[in-house]
């Protein structure tokens, strides 16, 4: 009889909160956190914008969990490729899917094949140094940029385009992105959304940050506003919910758009109907309540949310872009609970909410998992063995990540930057395994559980 073991697929916030809840609520459970990359923390590393170091400090809380003796980090192990879901569910008491929503929600505007039409995650992965996202090339001479979608990711992208390169240089933005943004200073940014002012999903502090960037004027397009939007801006009525009202207080300080350079324009109630250009984007076609018009743009960033990337052997609710589930218990497409399989984070509830939203989300799933596991602190089921070889051959353990971390911080210190991210998989692996890997398994303080 051995202690139950749980595999968590993905080491972003939802995965780490799941691990934290398991450790708190079960006396003996052992936890393996798998990630397809050699580096942990998911969107804390590849999503949170470089100019938000305070938010990235959340990683300190996750480090405490990772360094618990009952936890192992197994980086560079890709589920669905290096190891199948079936093999995982056979080897662990429970498997928790925490792999997020890694694929952009597709939009037909991207299908025209024009250079200069990209998804937000292409852009965020690029400036955040994701190993799979370094091939992006900003179109040269992108003076006007349109961002489609009105959430905090759109604001992150706007800041990266608008901030002075001196300010960006101190952050952990990749050197490629820094050079490109310095070479191609943007003159106009338009944040375009179909919804009304109250439907915009910004949070007010982020909205204020974009509004206060030196050298830029925050403006609102008159076009596209509804009667109610105007009444809200003029203070005749108040918004229905507090988030909208807080956004409104920021937006009230904006002036009307004039089309001059160095304006960041918020354009509500507007659909982007088409893209124009030969080979590369030159303008976008907008439609609002006053009709259709064409406006110049050399770069269009589609910031309309993320969906779960398909994994062989996993059910997928394609319309919602999530793994079908009931309070974290994974369901087949027929709605039947799949034993031993659980889901947390964006894969469970779609791409919305702040990092902290994952805490209660993961706790809900873990409560159900522990209920299913029962009171017995041991797991009576026979476990398939034969994994050690994979882990020994391929996995990057926590010490491996710490070597990467130390190296990146050292390069940062040398360059007067907070961190210099390493973006090549080969180099990451080389650094992670720099010390002779004589020790058989990635350590979980001595004994392994598989």
């Amino acid at each position: 009889m051995t202690a139950p073991n749980v595999a968590i697929v993905g080491s972003g916030p939802s995965g780490f909160y799941a691990a934290e809840a398991l450790l708190e609520q079960h006396p003996t459970v052992r936890v393996d956190i798998l990630d397809k990359l050699a580096t942990p923390f998911g969107l804390v590393r590849f999503g949170v914008a470089p100019d938000h170091p305070k938010t990235k400090a959340i990683a300190k809380a996750f480090e405490r969990t990772a360094e618990n003796a009952r936890v192992r980090f197994l980086g560079n192990v890709e589920v669905g490729k290096d190891v199948s879901i079936e093999a995982l569910t056979g080897a662990y008491s429970a498997v928790i899917l925490a792999h997020g929503a890694a694929a952009p929600r597709r939009h037909p505007l991207a299908d025209a094949g024009l250079e200069g039409v990209i998804y937000a995650s292409d852009f965020t992965r690029w400036y955040n140094g994701h190993p799979d996202g370094q091939s992006l090339a900003l179109p040269s001479g992108a003076a006007s940029v349109a961002i489609y979608g009105m959430g905090n990711v759109s604001l992150d992208i706007s800041r990266m385009l608008m901030l002075d390169s001196q300010e960006l240089a101190a952050t952990d933005i990749t050197e490629d992105a820094l050079r490109a943004l310095r070479r191609e200073p943007v003159q106009r940014v338009a944040i375009v959304g179909r919804g009304s002012l109250e439907q915009a999903k910004f949070s007010a502090p982020e909205l204020r940050e974009t509004a206060r960037i030196a050298g830029w004027r925050p403006v609102i397009a008159r076009e596209g506003l509804s009667e109610r939007d105007r009444a809200l801006l003029e203070g005749h009525v108040t918004a229905d919910d507090s988030r909208a009202q807080q956004n409104l207080e920021v937006l009230k300080e904006f002036v009307w758009a004039t089309g001059q350079p160095r304006e960041v324009e918020f354009r509500f109630g507007t659909t982007i109907e088409g893209v124009e250009g030969s080979g590369r984007l030159s303008s976008v076609l907008l439609r609002d309540n006053t009709g259709q018009m064409s406006t110049e743009a050399q770069l269009l960033v589609l910031s309309i949310g993320q969906v779960v990337a398909p994994v062989p052997g996993l059910p997928l609710d394609e319309s919602r872009g999530i793994i079908p589930n009931a309070w974290g218990r994974v369901l087949s497409l027929d709605g039947v609970v799949i034993e031993g399989l659980y889901v947390v984070g964006w894969a469970k509830r779609s791409s919305a909410g702040t990092i902290g939203s994952n805490r209660s989300c993961s706790r809900e799933t873990i409560a159900n998992l522990l209920l299913d596991l029962g009171d017995d602190p041991t797991d009576p089921r026979q476990r398939i063995v034969g994994w050690k070889d994979l882990y020994r051959r391929k996995a990057v353990d926590w010490n491996g990540w710490k070597r990467i971390d130390d190296e990146e911080l050292a390069r940062g210190r040398a360059a007067g930057r907070s961190r210099v991210k390493i973006t090549s998989r080969a180099e990451l692996l080389k650094i992670a395994t720099a010390e002779n890997r004589r020790s058989a398994l990635p350590e979980r303080n001595k004994k392994d559980a598989i």
């Binding site: 916030p13 938010t55 400090a57 959340i58 300190k60 809380a61 902290g356 939203s357 805490r359």
Partner: protein, 103 residues
């Protein structure tokens, strides 16, 4: 910018904030909780959940509450972490109703 707990928490200590904090930055005093600024990532998840509106971003702090920035800093260093939600202090609900009627 810092997030701080202010006087409305005193003798209430509802601890909804502890429940939503993603980094465990609350510190537990006998009469109220405080925020350890070094651990706080300024996500603001705690601000809207406080039943007595005791938590502020220091940028939005009314002048008469400004002293709380220093008080949080001072006490956070001395106190243990609040790890889980607790029952409010006795009389908290009555105090909350008074505070709400005053606002």
């Amino acid at each position: 910018m810092t997030i701080v707990v202010t006087e409305n928490c005193h003798k209430c200590r509802f601890t909804e904030c502890v429940d939503v904090c993603p980094v465990g930055c609350f510190r537990l005093g006998d009469d109220m909780v405080y925020i350890a600024a070094d651990d706080c990532i300024e996500c603001r998840a705690c601000i809207p959940v406080c039943p007595v509106s005791a938590i502020y971003d220091s940028d939005d702090l009314p002048p008469h509450l400004e002293k709380w920035v220093g008080i949080n800093r001072e006490f956070a260093d001395l106190l243990p972490a609040a790890t889980a939600r607790l029952d409010p202090l006795p009389g908290a609900e009555e105090r909350r109703q008074t505070l709400v009627s005053l606002s």
